[in-house]
């Protein structure tokens, strides 16, 4: 074959089988990339029904054929940017469709968020106690002859006198009031005969009166039309309305509101939960940390097995978010602070165990060698060589965890009745936006303060505060006081967190059932069809036949204790040879076609496929309407037909897992796009040390720090109200959360730029843009990419739970399944979450280690 034909053949093969053209030429990297990406893109396009994505797939496909041909003739192209762009754009088109991004909803949904936003500027913190003075006077509308006595009395303390005792609508009446607060304003109100209150208005504004120094006033009011036209009195009749003059006066000193008191109490509970969980987790995690340290456990086969087992369990626990554990423990021991503490504790033990083990693994062997060289024994080596090295890191990790636990404890109440998050979700449901705003502001402030405190403490610990020696009496006293304070805090927290260890035992059945179902996810199911068998039941009026014998030798059978009974007589229905351990439905079937369950939530067959139900003959069985036709009793059960299939839970989970990944992708992308330009404003070496630069620097930094303290779960709650439930709300919440987090990391990277490189390029005569392009951007790209990957990783974790508060993704479906007691389905989603988090964790850490 001539070479020309051969080249064309390669191109043709590449056109028929994507990637084959490259694979033939042994360019495996490009070949595999094409081979994988084309079915992937087509799959995504079919999944979200986005025809445009087919164009992307086609572009990659055609490019691959062209590239294969070019390579075969010996002129390989450098245009990999084409398929890369086509693929990226296609993925984003799918992602935008899947996560339901509709920016217009930010505008159309604005009215529903406005009360919340305005409430955030006026939190419910302090208020004056108030005292009211209300004067009322009856007035009859319209005037009739003779005028009846009004059926309502006027007020006692205050006197309100209308100039007429009756008037027609739109008449004006002069009102004189006595005995009100002197020199004080009040409002005029009107109460109709059924008690509805409305403000009286004058020229469209609420009518206001002002008393003189004796507490008297007079005002002219216009009689409003205060009842619907359909309820107006017939001619010759009248209705008694009331005029009300109301004064609302604050007195005394500002006092904290009930809201504030509740917020403070629940915030205490939140902090207690976090404290208790952290302390207990540290205690549990220390031995685990040693068990999970490779340098200690790597020696023997058994210890290595223990090491791998501990690591695996820690990783599984860690990849399931605290909020998911909170719901799981809520099912076990009941919602409340105890479940919350258990969830925080569980997740913290795993996280701290891993961090501790890493600290143990990174112990420097040289000091240990030095201590051993002095002739110390094993214990002395540990005390003098190992412990001084790990104590500061352990403490620092514990503090860091405490910081995270406080954050988690503030939102754990969104799913289980514990801590301040519970108030937030209650108040948003009740529409008490001012109260909700108070709690959100409190959460943000507490997190911001603790974030600061814990970072200062950590820096202190790592830069060497001496915990070992006590020198003076004062230090000794401080230490004793410290121990007592700690013990006191611990006891208080124990009390507040409502620890009931006995519940763990009492509800052990719950826990075991849950664990069993979570460990056996519903992967394959067989399609079922409903089958039924029935038997006749007659009443004596319907000419009882001789006992009808049911065939029971083969297949399922139904047996009634009596086939002929009067209404109300006891009846036992039993079925046999039914599928074992299956929910069956037992119903009355009346001759007119009506059906009725014999008993709600009934019944399950036993292991031998038998079921039995005692009841009484239903009164409808003897109805005259049936013309003597008999009633039947049926047993209905699902019977598996055909082969095993992937369960509905798997399909839904796959769909939602993909949406969750894409939510994280879009949020990371948007967050980065916004954070990159802003981060330059928060970099000291960019904005300079001038007055304007400093103001800008501190302003942006402060905003970042405060903003970072707003939990994404709370943002999701707000956005779900704004743009509606669904992935879009979740994406917005994550994006908004990513901007300050990434912005902070980015600006720190910018501050670490090596100025020598900038100087060198300036010295070549390059202009400012060229210096940025050649000396600054190459330094930033690897770091920024690493941070973005890291944030994507975090976003995937967060997007698994953001659905709990309306943010879409897999979390919502997970919670629904748990609420419906479909734990086997929830198990599928749980394992999908674990897998997703693991894979992303692995991919992102691999890519990051390559970059840096």
């Amino acid at each position: 074959m001539n070479p020309r034909k051969q080249h064309l053949l390669i191109g043709l093969i590449a056109l028929i089988i994507p990637g084959a053209g490259h694979l033939i030429q042994q360019n495996f990297q490009r070949g595999l990339a094409v081979l994988i990406s084309i079915p992937l893109l087509i799959g995504l396009a079919c999944w979200q029904e986005t025809p445009l994505v087919f164009a992307g797939a086609a572009t990659v496909w055609l490019w691959s054929a062209w590239d294969a041909w070019r390579a075969s003739v010996g002129r390989p192209t450098k245009t990999t940017i084409v398929p890369f762009l086509a693929g990226t754009i296609a993925v984003y088109i799918v992602a935008l469709a899947a996560t339901d991004i509709q920016p217009a909803r930010l505008i159309s949904g604005f009215p529903s968020i406005r009360p919340i936003l305005s409430a955030l500027t006026s939190p419910d913190i302090l208020a004056y106690p108030t005292q009211d003075k209300i004067g009322t006077a009856p007035i009859l509308v319209p005037c009739v002859e003779p005028l009846p006595r009004p059926d309502v009395q006027g007020s006692r303390q205050t006197i309100l006198l209308p100039s007429a005792s009756c008037a027609a609508v739109d008449d004006t009446v002069r009102i004189t009031g006595l005995g009100f607060f002197p020199n004080f304003e009040g409002e005029m109100w009107w109460r109709n005969p059924i008690g509805d209150l409305q403000r009286l208005t004058k020229d469209g504004r609420p009518q206001i009166f002002k008393t003189n120094e004796k507490g008297e006033f007079s005002a002219t009011i216009k009689i409003p039309l205060a009842v619907p036209i359909s309820a107006l009195p017939v001619p010759g009749q009248t209705q008694t309305h009331q005029i009300e003059a109301r004064q609302h006066k604050a007195y005394g000193q500002l006092q904290p509101t009930e809201t504030l008191r509740l917020v403070v109490t629940k915030m205490g509970e939140t902090l207690a939960l976090a404290f208790l969980a952290t302390v207990l987790a540290a205690i549990f995690a220390i031995p685990i940390g040693f068990l999970a340290a490779r340098n200690l456990m790597g020696a023997g086969k058994i210890t290595l097995a223990v090491y791998y087992a501990v690591r695996a369990v820690l990783n599984i626990i860690r990849s399931i978010e605290t909020l998911i554990w909170a719901i799981i423990f809520g099912v076990w021991v009941g919602l409340g602070p105890f479940a919350g503490t258990l969830a925080l504790l569980f997740h913290s033990v795993a996280a701290l165990g891993k961090l501790y083990s890493e600290a143990v693994e990174s112990v420097d062997p040289r000091p240990i060698e030095a201590v051993r060289a002095t002739g110390a024994n094993q214990l002395q080596v540990i005390v003098f060589g190992v412990i001084p090295q790990i104590v500061p890191t352990f403490l620092s990790f514990t503090l860091y965890r405490w910081d995270i636990n406080v954050r988690m404890a503030t939102v754990i109440g969104l799913v289980c009745d514990a801590g301040i998050g519970f108030l937030v979700i209650q108040w948003i449901r009740l529409g008490s936006y001012n109260a909700m705003a108070t709690s959100i502001i409190a959460i943000t402030l507490v997190i911001a303060v603790l974030d600061y405190v814990s970072s200062v403490l950590r820096r202190h610990i790592l830069t060497g505060v001496n915990f070992g020696k006590v020198k003076t009496f004062r230090q000794y006293a401080f230490r004793i006081i410290g121990v007592f304070v700690f013990a006191g805090l611990f006891l208080w927290s124990w009390n507040v967190a409502d620890i009931r260890i006995d519940y763990l035992v009492r509800d052990a059945g719950n826990g075991l059932r849950l664990a069993r179902e979570l460990l056996t996810p519903e992967i394959l199911t067989r399609p079922t069809e409903l089958r039924s068998i029935s038997a006749e039941i007659r009443t004596p009026r319907q000419s009882c036949p001789a006992d009808e014998v049911m065939k029971t030798d083969e297949g399922p059978g139904i047996r009634l204790s009596s086939t002929c009974s009067n209404v109300g007589e006891p009846l036992t229905i039993s079925g046999e040879k039914l599928p074992p351990d299956t929910r069956v439905y037992i119903r009355w079937q009346f001759p007119d076609g009506g059906e009725l369950r014999v008993k709600e939530n009934c019944c399950d067959t036993d292991a031998d496929g038998r079921v039995s139900l005692e009841t009484r003959v239903h009164s409808l069985a003897d109805s005259e309407k049936h013309d003597g036709r008999p009633t039947r009793i049926s047993i209905q059960w699902p019977e598996a037909v055909g082969g095993f299939q992937l369960s509905e839970a798997i399909k839904k989970t796959l769909d939602l897992a993909l949406i969750t990944l894409l939510m994280a992708l879009i949020a990371t992308t948007l967050g980065s796009l916004i954070a990159i330009p802003v981060s330059f404003l928060a970099a000291r070496n960019i904005v300079g040390t001038g007055p304007l630069g400093s103001v800008l620097y501190y302003a942006v930094r402060t905003v970042f720090n405060l903003w970072r303290s707003i939990e994404p779960m709370i943002l999701a709650l707000i956005f779900a109200t704004w743009v509606g439930l669904g992935p879009f709300a979740g994406v917005l919440a994550l994006t908004l959360n990513n901007i300050p987090n990434l912005g902070k990391l980015f600006s720190e990277a910018i501050e670490e730029i090596d100025m020598g490189q900038v100087e060198a390029l300036t010295a070549t005569g390059a202009n400012r843009l060229q210096v940025i392009r050649f000396a600054v951007i190459p330094q930033l790209i690897p770091k920024f990419t690493a941070f973005i990957l890291y944030q994507w990783d975090i976003n995937i974790r967060m997007s698994t739970v953001i659905g709990f508060v309306g943010g879409g993704g897999i979390g919502h479906q997970w919670r629904v399944w748990v609420q419906l007691n479909q734990y086997a389905a929830a198990a599928v989603a749980t394992w999908a979450i674990v897998a997703m988090v693991w894979i992303m964790d692995y991919v992102s850490s691999r890519m990051r280690s390559r970059l840096v």
Partner: protein
């Protein structure tokens, strides 16, 4: 001809880095600048290509007042002055070829350079520059994978790309071992002799000064304390510049 007249630099915070420094360098000289750390050597070199703007005084180079230049004019001056640094100052994350090509930034079209495009004659020139410094095979590697001596060669290649008439070398061998130090300085000497490029080089070691320099200026606390031929720089004069510890100031035994 490079003339420095009464050059003074006071940094914000009142630190006087240079005080009334005046000297002249003829074309084609290899001038060593000696002095303790903090004596003002780096400041002096950076004033010449205006990475630092002096507080007062003038620097005249071939009838152009460098101290008055601004904007595009300053960049045109800078592109004729190559500079090499103690820490090499390569863009570590970029490839060797990009680093070398960035020496042409003052010459090429600014906009196309932002897209990473360089004319093909520049690419050829870059390869030749790397051949000249002896590491042509490293052209596609990332700069931070190279050893210190190789990095300094890349930095020299970058400076060569500028077609410089003057090279400023700010302690070019302080981060290198003695063998590499001689290799780099020999290379500068070769450029100086064969292409007539004026070299201004700060050095720490008396034997290196004697071996390579044709002219020496000594700085002490920002003031000019010595100017002359290397042979006039006796041990005693050297000690005056460096203080008492100068005794051991030969290569391999740094002063600071």
């Amino acid at each position: 001809m490079l003339t420095v007249e009464k050059l003074t630099k006071v940094f914000p915070g009142g630190i006087v880095a240079l005080k009334d420094v005046s000297f002249a360098v003829s074309k084609g000289e290899f001038m060593a600048v000696i002095g303790l750390s903090g004596s003002g050597k780096s400041t002096l070199l950076r004033c010449v290509n205006r990475l630092i703007t002096p507080t007062s005084g003038r620097i005249i180079w071939d009838d152009t007042d460098i101290t008055k230049a601004r904007g595009p004019e300053l960049r045109r001056i800078r592109r004729r002055i190559g500079m090499i640094f103690q820490q090499f100052n390569l863009v570590k994350q970029s490839s060797v070829s990009t680093n070398v090509l960035s020496g042409r930034l003052g010459y090429v079209s600014p906009w196309s350079s932002l897209l990473g495009y360089f004319p093909s004659e520049d690419r050829v020139r870059a390869r030749r520059a790397l051949e000249q410094v002896g590491i042509p095979e490293k052209i596609h590697e990332r700069a931070d994978t190279l050893s210190g001596g190789q990095q300094q060669r890349v930095a020299i290649a970058r400076a060569l790309m500028q077609k410089p008439q003057l090279i400023l070398a700010d302690e070019p061998v302080a981060s290198l071992d003695p063998v590499l130090a001689h290799a780099i300085l020999q290379y500068l000497e070769q450029l100086n002799r064969e292409q007539g490029i004026t070299v201004l080089c700060s050095l720490h070691f008396l034997d290196l000064v004697h071996r390579y320099a044709t002219q020496v200026v000594g700085l002490k606390a920002g003031e000019l304390v010595f100017q002359g031929r290397p042979k006039e720089l006796t041990r005693e004069r050297f000690r005056e510049v460096y203080g008492e510890e100068a005794e051991m100031a030969t290569l391999g035994k740094p002063l600071d």
